[in-house]
Subunit: 331 residues, 2 copies
DNA sequence: TTGTAAGCGTTATCAA
DNA sequence: TTGATAACGCTTACAA
């Protein structure tokens, strides 16, 4: 593996100075066509292309965006990652996928992100509280941060997310119209503000309908298994007469787990005996085997806006966007 | 947003030279404890941490690995991405997710990867033929390439994948023992070598059992919808008497789409009327609503080996690893 | 152990 | 338009 050719080498080959070489590769630089041709030809034979690393050091911009993800159990992440990477690449930005876990937490990741001079940091659905950073605060020279698909817990960090209040309003209206009157809600991780948020709005809208006391099923985390366990626990401990008639789950993956238990283990019919609703509208939910009623987040819009903010084509600020109710057979 | 502190500034604050500052941040460098303490303290107050970009330029290693992905429809990608990013991070390497699509193809991506000096490039399940690069070949100074979860089509580019021959052998043995005798195979993209590979091995093993003529259902691409269409087309055009009794699909997502059609649209029972088998063992396949018999790739092993090769702890070479048959109710 | 010089491959700025 | 000088922030090699 030979070394890459440098601008200097190309310059010698073309009989010009290295700065002229740079100009040949700089759109809109002042250079004669003759020089440019000479340079491009020399570059071609030497197989030269500018070293982006050196460019980054000099320009102080890496064209790389860090995306923090901590919940890979949710299939919803994949299509959004696809969208995000596509749109970023369309703007000449690369996606650095950062796995937030026990060994590489937000603090480490943020410090690392600073050291690597990313152009921006996106917290994609990750839970992150301001206190976590401690005194460090947002360090000087730190890349601008954004929160995607979740409300922001950090003042000054803009969030682009689905409007949960509006979403839950639509959902409750729909369920009420369908005749459901004994609502339950399954939460994933308790500490997350969105968890509280969705649950909170859900309860609020039912209250406005004159119905108090939404039953809470706590799954503790986001996975089909957790959803299954929570549903099982509830169904085992409740009498058929007093049961809820509709279960809204904080996301689809919980809903699918719950639905499996409701039907396979307890032989209940969905939606006749117990209706189920999810959130995110992941693909398997739409399969005939489930027919899960869900709520679709405006992924494209969210991603487009986020990318526009990162590139500075839009002013960075919090935005809540409307999604879309997707009614199917489960409720 | 102030600029980041530099080693030089810390040096001035600590009353030493900037090289001493560097040493304080270099494990195993010769420096007195006194100096180190002074430096670390100054660094602390100035909130200094080394600039990784500058380091990369100087050391010619970025600690970044590019991962090319072109098929985001397969949910199997997500857990593997999680594993991969985790293991890479454990080695101090960051994952740059590169979306291969119409606008950003392998050639662009590879050139870009060279310019960015990634430490390695992983083709994760992407189809890429040698000719694509044309004359350029693998350019000098180009990062080492690896293929993950697919056979390599490029000589000299090591692939880490599941042993397809062994896998299909196990599957056919299992199906034969279960009494199935009229096999069908659903292919995704026709051009991919693994497609041909899996189908090829499948047909071979049936032949060894004395059964010729595996029926091919061509879905054309990898998605539940494509699987559904192919299954629909086949069932519509075949007479119940002459039909296959077991359908092996090239991957799970095709299998789920097919299974939905088989059951919901044609009212056939799985496995009694038509058994279905997939590949990858994605999560929804395991849900009670499907109970899809599948074959699990050794994801952890593949990823661990790949990372070990990238870090040089293992010699880079092609490896085929055994997976695991996961029998469920669908076959 | 510590300081110095040179170099990594660009870009920014100014002079010719 | 072109060439030259300085700078980006670090590492490597060498000298003190």
């Amino acid at each position: 593996m030979r070394k890459r050719a440098t601008a200097k080498e190309v310059a010698e080959a073309a009989g010009v100075s290295k700065w002229t070489v740079i100009r040949a590769f700089t759109p809109g630089a002042s250079i004669t066509d003759a020089s440019r041709q000479k340079v491009l030809q020399a570059a071609e034979t030497l197989n030269y292309s500018p070293n982006l690393l050196a460019r980054s050091l000099a320009t102080n911009t890496t064209h790389q965006v860090a995306v923090f993800v901590d919940d890979f159990a949710n299939p919803h992440k994949l299509p959004v990652l696809e969208l995000l990477s596509e749109r970023l690449q369309a703007e000449g930005l690369l996606t650095v996928l950062i796995n937030i876990n026990r060994h590489f937490d937000h603090v480490h990741a943020l410090i690392n992100a600073g050291q690597r001079q990313f152009d921006a940091v996106i917290l994609f659905g990750t839970a992150f509280r301001e206190e976590t950073l401690g005194d460090r605060g947002l360090e000087p020279g730190f890349p601008p941060m954004f929160v995607l698909a979740r409300g922001s817990q950090i003042p000054g960090v803009p969030a682009i997310a689905c409007d949960a209040e509006r979403a839950l309003g639509e959902i409750v209206d729909y369920l009420f119209d369908k005749g459901y009157r004994r609502p339950g809600f399954m939460t994933g991780a308790r500490t997350l503000s969105t968890a509280l948020g969705r649950r909170h709005h859900y309860a609020n809208f039912w209250r406005r309908k004159g119905i108090e006391g939404v039953v809470e099923l706590a799954a503790g985390r986001y996975s089909a298994e957790a959803g299954a366990e929570a549903a099982r626990a509830y169904l085992n401990s409740s009498s058929p007469a007093s049961r809820i008639d509709v279960l809204m789950c904080e996301n689809d993956i919980l809903a699918l787990g719950a639905m499996d238990v409701v039907r396979s283990e307890f032989g209940l019919r969905v939606p006749e005996d117990l209706a189920v609703v999810g959130f995110d509208n992941i693909e398997p939910g739409g399969f005939p085997a489930y027919g899960l009623t869900s709520y679709e987040q405006p992924n494209e819009k969210m991603v487009d806006i986020m990318v526009a903010m990162i590139t500075g084509k839009r002013t960075a600020k919090m935005m809540l966007l409307p999604g879309r109710l997707v009614p199917r057979s489960s409720a």
